[in-house]
Point group: C2
Chain length 227, copies 2
């Protein structure tokens, strides 16, 4: 029982660790990303990861880096448009398309507290577009705040996630119970159909809603920039 094949396993690396983490997040969500689980995926022990990653926080930062690399690559591939507004719109919606491939991304980005270079660079390009459209630095600064996370392609919804209610009727039933307490919402929901099966991120934050809000803000900015 001596001459077992010595298992020529590929050595670990920060890149492999991060990539494995992203795969786990894609498959089973952010909470499934644990050191032990990553270790398993790579055929190593959890503690071995610490040679390539300082700690869990650094790991999550690294995941953001991987994500943002994918996002920046997609966004930089875009053909140049002269109109700043169309360019920003396109850029942001492209970013959103990338995020839709990683449903865990909004939660992760919101939770991150450190500034990652790739995120900074992304916003720099947005400011560049606005400058090309005649924005003052001050207005561009305001614009970033107004867009908030929408600049990156998502917006946090209060009643959000897909994992909210196991049965889709639960929300409706609760609203029915509250009906006389919330007459305005009840009326609104009666009129606005919420059962769009194409709902992408969150409750009814689907593509149309995202674009509506985005255009509302871009139009407002355009008016201010034109003054």
């Amino acid at each position: 029982m001596a001459s077992q094949a010595p298992a020529p396993r590929t050595p670990l690396s920060r890149d492999r660790v991060l990539r494995a983490a992203v795969e786990i997040a894609d498959a089973d969500g952010l909470d499934a990303v644990t050191m032990r689980r990553i270790g398993d995926a790579l055929g190593a022990e959890a503690m071995s990861l610490y040679y390539h990653v300082a700690n869990k926080n650094d790991l999550l930062d690294g995941i953001v880096d991987v994500l943002m690399a994918e996002l920046n690559e997609a966004v930089d591939r875009l053909t140049v448009v002269t109109d700043w507004k169309a360019a920003m719109r396109h850029r942001i919606l492209t970013a959103r398309a990338v995020l839709l491939r990683h449903p865990w991304a909004p939660r992760l980005l919101e939770s991150r507290t450190t500034m990652r270079p790739a995120v900074v660079i992304y916003h720099d390009r947005l400011v560049g577009l606005m400058r090309s459209g005649g924005f003052s630095y001050d207005l561009a600064h305001h614009a970033l705040h107004a867009l908030g996370s929408r600049a990156l392609g998502f917006s946090q919804e209060l009643f959000d996630p897909a994992d909210a209610s196991p049965n889709p009727d639960a929300d409706a039933r609760m609203l029915a119970d509250l009906a006389e307490q919330v007459p305005n919402l009840a009326g609104m929901l009666a009129e606005v159909a919420h059962d769009d099966p194409d709902s992408t991120i969150g409750w009814c934050d689907d593509q149309q809603e995202f674009e509506f809000a985005l255009d509302l803000i871009l139009d407002g900015l355009a008016r201010l920039a034109a003054r």
Copy 2:
């Protein structure tokens, strides 16, 4: 050593548990809110809490209820204004004032997945205001999405928290390192002073920035409503 005073401690209750949890969050942040810590604060064991609270998730929901009760109370105290826009503005900024007393609130609200009645009721009143301003249900619905978490008085910032960089120069130094990679941001930051000591929630999401974005959206909505 027999006749020790029998410690006439006040019995636990859901309300006491939730109130203790909020106090802990106010004092030491959301991560400090653990079952054992709440138990300590109440002179009880962690497991005793489970008689009054289903689980940790239910506890967090309960914290949201306490918070939103405080918020709704503050907001309903407002004097009636005929102008829907001024009323919404006032209402939202009042909500924000309450949230500023509980820095952990945005993170908690974002993380919550279940619909709490108090949150629903809050939004119902907003829709009511918009209806009074001539909004269609459809436009009011869009408006809620456009406002996002801003409707509740906060907006998530990508480079956010107070706990981000121990030394306030770290961010600036990193940007300096990236300077040639992010010329637009570097220019912007050189011009826009970010060292506002009154920064409230987050990096530079201070009151003026919040109001700028809020007014931008409200103005845009007003234009759409007027059509």
